[in-house]
C-alpha cells in the first residue's frame, strides 16, 4: 500500500525543514516528484494555492483564473533559490494533499455554508498584501497598540465604573423619584405604577437600622477594605484607559485637520477652474457676437473683406449717390470694418504653435521711439510711425505722425503738422520696404509725404490749428482731436469738416446736471486755457516727457463719441448736437487713451491708473493701479492690455483680477503703444522696435 511509505516520507520531509536548504531541496525534489506521480491521478490541479482556490469555489474558478493564480504564486516560489521565509511556509506537496483531504470532514459538516465573494476577495488580496511594505510603527501606532485601544474603547471598559456606581447605590425608603422624573418630562402617570408599594418595609435601613433624618447616605453603606482597594485599582485602570482614549482622539483630530487642508486646497483649485470657465464663456460670447459680421459671403472686391448686409447697403448707396466715385474707393469708404470686432480673427494655423506671451517677431527698421502703430489684420499690413530724434536739417519742429488707424487698405494719419492724411495702402506697397505680411510702411520720418493725386496719399484734410493727436474713423466718418483743444468730425466722402466740438467750451459750460458747479469749472478753464503741456511722471527707466497732446484718445460709435483729454476728464459727446452730455471725472492726470464697448469705457492716464467706467451709471466699476503712467491701452470682455511705462506690456485679466507682464524677448525701453487682435499683439516702444506677440 502507499500509506506506510508515505507516512515515513512525511516524517522525512518534516525533518527536512531544519536541514540546510541545498540538501533538503534535492531530497524534496525527489520526494515531491514521487508524491506528485502518485497523487496526480487523483487530482488535476497545478499548485498548492490554486488547489485551495479551486477547492473553495470549483464552479467559479475557471481554468483561466486558476492559471493566473498559478503563475502569480509560482513567481514567488521560483526555483529553489527561495528565501528562508518562503521555505518555512511552503509545506511539501504531499502534506498539502493530505491537509486538503483532512479538510473534507470539516467541509462535509459545514455543507450549509455558502461561499461568498468575501472569501474570494480575501484570498485574492492576500498575495497583493504580502507585497506591501511594512514601515516601522510610529506616532500613535507606537504609542497605543490597536488592542490597547480596543480594550479602552469597547463598552465593557465602562464595566468597572458601573460596578462601582452600583456599590454606591443605597437602598433608601421609597422616594418616588421615578414618578417625579416622569412628571417633569410631561409624561402621564403610569396607572400601573404602584405608588403605594411596600413602603413600610423600606422605612428601615438595609441593616435594619432606622435611618435618621439628616444622616448622610454614605453612612448607611459599608464597603469594606477589600472592596475599596479593588475600586482603587479599577480607577487606576480606568485612568489609563482615559489616557489611551485621549491619545486616540488627538491622533484622529490631527488626521482630520490634514484631510481638511487637503480638501481646502482642492476647493481652491476648483475655484480657479471656475474662473477659467468664466473667461472662456466671455470669449465665446465675443465670438458669437462677431458671427453676424461674418455670416454673409465675401464681396467680389477682395477675399478678406467680409461684410454684413448693412455694409452692402451702404456701399450701394454711396455708389448710387456718387456715380463718379470709383467703386473701389467707394467700397473703401463705405465698408464696415471687421477690424474693430471683438471676436476671433483669421490667423494662420501656425500661429497656434507659437508659445504664448513671447515676442516672436521684432521689426527693427525705425530709428526713433515709436509714436503710433496700427495694423489691418494679423499677419496683414502694419503701419508704424516713429519720431526721429537725431534729425538733421533746419526743421525746428519735428513733423511727427502722432496717430494712425488702419482698416484693411485704408490708413489715416494725423501729424504734428495739424494735417490729416488718407492713405491707400495698396499703392504704398510697391514703393516701401516690402508688402508681405508684417511689412512696414515707414511714414513721417522726414516729412516725405506723397502727392495727393498719385502715390499712396489719397487726401489731405486741413482744418486743425495744432498737431492732431488722436483720431478714429469708421465708415465715412472721421473724428480727430488736436492740441488746439477741439474735436472735429469729417466726412470722408467729401473731405469736409462737418462738426467742431470745442472742449474748452464744454469745460466752461458743463452739462445741465453739474451746471451749479460752474465756479470750479471756471478755475479748470483757466488752468487749461493756455497751451497744454504737462510733465509726465517718470517712466520705469526714469525718463519723462512734456506731454502736450490735449486730446489723448477718441472713439465713436454711431453718434456717440467718447474723448479723453488733458484736463483729466473723459467726455461723452453727442455728435448730432456737438454737445458733451456727460463728463466722467475721476482721473487726476491727463487722459492718454480711451476705448469703449457696449458696457464700459476704459481710460488710461498719466496718473498711473486705468479706470473702467460703467456706461449706464457713469461710475467707476474698476481701477487698475500701475507704477508708471499709462500711454496706450486696448480691452475686451476678458482683459485690458496696457502700456504702463515699463518695458513689459501689462495684461490685466478681468475675470481673475490678476495682472501679468509680457516681457519675454520684449522691449528694452518702455513700451508705449500697443494693439492686438484676437491672439496677435503688436507693441512699439521707445527702443524703436516693434514687437509682435502671441497672446
Amino acid at each position: 500500500m502507499s500509506v506506510p511509505p508515505s507516512r515515513a516520507r512525511q516524517k522525512d520531509e518534516s525533518k527536512d525543514h531544519s536541514e540546510p536548504i541545498a540538501s533538503s531541496s534535492t531530497t524534496n525534489s525527489r520526494l515531491a516528484n514521487i508524491s506528485k506521480a502518485i497523487i496526480t491521478p487523483f487530482s488535476s490541479y497545478k499548485s498548492d494555492s490554486t488547489k485551495v482556490l479551486s477547492d473553495l469555489a470549483p464552479v467559479l474558478m475557471t481554468p483561466k483564473i486558476i492559471n493566473a493564480a498559478a503563475s502569480s504564486s509560482s513567481k514567488s516560489t521560483q526555483g529553489y533559490n527561495v528565501s528562508q521565509r518562503q521555505r518555512a511556509y511552503r509545506p511539501t506537496a504531499k502534506a498539502i494533499d493530505f491537509a486538503l483531504l483532512g479538510r473534507a470532514p470539516g467541509r462535509l459538516t459545514g455543507a450549509g455554508r455558502r461561499l461568498t465573494s468575501h472569501d474570494l476577495e480575501i484570498v485574492e488580496a492576500t498575495s497583493e498584501l504580502l507585497e506591501a511594505d511594512i514601515p516601522e510603527p510610529e506616532g500613535v501606532a507606537a504609542d497605543v497598540s490597536l488592542l490597547r485601544g480596543f480594550n479602552a474603547t469597547i463598552p465593557s471598559s465602562q464595566r468597572g465604573k458601573t460596578r462601582r456606581r452600583k456599590t454606591r447605590n443605597v437602598d433608601t425608603p421609597h422616594l418616588g423619584l421615578k414618578r417625579l422624573g416622569m412628571n417633569a418630562r410631561g409624561l402621564l402617570n403610569d396607572s400601573n405604577y404602584d405608588s403605594a408599594g411596600p413602603e413600610d418595609s423600606f422605612a428601615q435601613g438595609p441593616k435594619g437600622r432606622p435611618r435618621r433624618g439628616r444622616e448622610s447616605l454614605a453612612a448607611t453603606v459599608r464597603l469594606g477594605r477589600e472592596e475599596l482597594e479593588r475600586q482603587a485599582q479599577e480607577i487606576l485602570l480606568d485612568k489609563e484607559n482615559l489616557r489611551v482614549r485621549r491619545t486616540l482622539i488627538h491622533a484622529e483630530s490631527s488626521e482630520i485637520v490634514a484631510k481638511i487642508s487637503g480638501l481646502e486646497a482642492l476647493r481652491q483649485k476648483l475655484d480657479k477652474d471656475l474662473l477659467k470657465i468664466q473667461e472662456e464663456e466671455l470669449e465665446l460670447d465675443d465670438e458669437c457676437n462677431s458671427i453676424p459680421d461674418c455670416l454673409f459671403g465675401p464681396s467680389p472686391d477682395g477675399p478678406c473683406v467680409v461684410e454684413s448686409v448693412q455694409d452692402r447697403l451702404a456701399y450701394e448707396e454711396t455708389v448710387s449717390k456718387n456715380p463718379n466715385v470709383r467703386p473701389s474707393e467707394a467700397h473703401v469708404m463705405a465698408s464696415q470694418s471687421i477690424r474693430r470686432k471683438k471676436g476671433p480673427a483669421f490667423l494662420p494655423s501656425e500661429h497656434d504653435e507659437l508659445p504664448p506671451a513671447v515676442a516672436f517677431m521684432t521689426l527693427d527698421s525705425h530709428h526713433g521711439a515709436i509714436t503710433c502703430l496700427d495694423f489691418s489684420e494679423p499677419y496683414g499690413l502694419l503701419v508704424s510711425a516713429s519720431a526721429n530724434v537725431a534729425e538733421e536739417g533746419g526743421e525746428s519742429e519735428l513733423e511727427v505722425v502722432k496717430c494712425v488707424q488702419v482698416e484693411e487698405h485704408v490708413c489715416i494719419t494725423g501729424g504734428s503738422d495739424s494735417k490729416v492724411r488718407l492713405w491707400d495702402l495698396r499703392r504704398a506697397g510697391e514703393s516701401s520696404s516690402g508688402n508681405e505680411s508684417g511689412g512696414t510702411v515707414s511714414n513721417g520720418e522726414d516729412g516725405v509725404f506723397g502727392e495727393p493725386s498719385e502715390g499712396p496719399c489719397v487726401r489731405v484734410l486741413e482744418g486743425h490749428s495744432s498737431s492732431v493727436t488722436s483720431l478714429f474713423f469708421e465708415d465715412a466718418t472721421l473724428v480727430t482731436g488736436a492740441s488746439d483743444k477741439t474735436i472735429r468730425q469729417w466726412d470722408l466722402t467729401t473731405g469736409q469738416c462737418v462738426l467742431t466740438m470745442d472742449i474748452l467750451w464744454a469745460i466752461s459750460h458743463p452739462p445741465l446736471a453739474a451746471s451749479a458747479a460752474s465756479g470750479p469749472a471756471a478755475g479748470l478753464l483757466k488752468a487749461v486755457s493756455g497751451p497744454f503741456a504737462v510733465a509726465t511722471p517718470p517712466y520705469a527707466d526714469g525718463s519723462w516727457d512734456m506731454y502736450q497732446d490735449f486730446v489723448g484718445g477718441l472713439q465713436f460709435w454711431g453718434y456717440a463719441l467718447v474723448s479723453g483729454s488733458g484736463d483729466s476728464a473723459v467726455r461723452m459727446w453727442d455728435m448730432r448736437t456737438g454737445q458733451a452730455h456727460r463728463t466722467l471725472m475721476g482721473h487726476t492726470g491727463a487722459v492718454t487713451c480711451v476705448q469703449f464697448d457696449e458696457h464700459h469705457i476704459v481710460s488710461g492716464s498719466l496718473d498711473k491708473t486705468v479706470r473702467i467706467w460703467d456706461l449706464r451709471t457713469g461710475g467707476i466699476s474698476d481701477s487698475i493701479r500701475f507704477e508708471y503712467p499709462v500711454t496706450s491701452l486696448q480691452f475686451d470682455s476678458r482683459k485690458v492690455v496696457a502700456c504702463a511705462g515699463e518695458n513689459g506690456v501689462k495684461i490685466y485679466n478681468r475675470t481673475t483680477l490678476q495682472l501679468s507682464t509680457l516681457s519675454t524677448n520684449g522691449h528694452t525701453q518702455p513700451a508705449e503703444r500697443v494693439r492686438y487682435m484676437d491672439r496677435y499683439m503688436v507693441s512699439g516702444g521707445r527702443d524703436s522696435r516693434v514687437k509682435i506677440w502671441a497672446i
Binding site: 521565509r85 493530505f98 491537509a99 498584501l129 510603527p137 490597536l146 480596543f150
Partner: protein, 154 residues
C-alpha cells in the same frame, strides 16, 4: 519594543451579541459620516474575528485587510490579526505567510511564535486526518477490488 497583540486563545473568546451589536452600530454610524476612525474599525473587526460564525470571521478578515491597505503604520499589528483570522477560518497557508512576515520583523514576539506553533499543529492534524481518510479509502477500495476479483473468479 514588541507589538502588543493578544494570544490566539483570546480570539476564541467571543464577545456577547450585544457588545458586537454596539460595535457594529458604532462602525456603521461612522460609515455614514464618511470618516471611519482606525479604532472603531479595529474594534469591529476584532469583535467579528472573535465570533464563532464563519461569515463574521470572513468579514473581520476583510476589514483587517482594509486596515492593512490604508494604514501603513498599523501594518505590523495587522499582520498578526490577519494571521489569526486566517487561522480561525482554516486558511493555514495564508495564516502562515502573514505570521512568517511578522516573525521576520519581530522574531521575539511571543504571541507570534505561539501562533506559528498552533498553525503547524493544525496543519499536521489535518494532514493526519487526510492520511487516515486516504488510508481508509484505499482500504475500502482494496476490499471492493478483492470482492470483485473473487466474484470474477467464481
Amino acid at each position: 519594543m514588541p507589538t502588543e497583540v493578544p494570544y490566539a486563545a483570546d480570539a476564541e473568546i467571543s464577545l456577547t451579541y450585544d457588545e458586537l451589536e454596539v460595535l457594529r452600530l458604532q462602525y456603521e454610524k461612522e460609515v455614514t459620516q464618511a470618516h471611519i476612525s482606525m479604532q472603531t474599525k479595529f474594534n469591529f473587526a476584532w469583535g467579528l474575528v472573535k465570533s464563532p460564525k464563519r461569515e463574521h470571521q470572513v468579514e473581520g478578515v476583510r476589514l483587517f485587510q482594509d486596515i492593512y491597505r490604508s494604514e501603513p503604520t498599523r501594518r505590523r499589528e495587522c499582520l498578526y490579526y490577519l494571521a489569526l483570522g486566517h487561522y480561525k477560518m482554516g486558511n493555514y497557508e495564508d495564516a502562515r505567510k502573514f505570521n512568517a512576515l511578522l516573525l521576520e520583523k519581530e522574531p521575539t514576539n511571543l504571541q507570534a511564535q505561539s501562533l506559528n506553533a498552533l498553525i503547524s499543529e493544525s496543519v499536521a492534524k489535518e494532514g493526519y486526518i487526510g492520511m487516515a481518510l486516504a488510508g481508509g479509502a484505499a482500504a475500502i477500495g482494496t476490499l471492493v477490488l478483492a470482492a470483485i476479483i473473487r466474484r470474477a473468479r467464481k
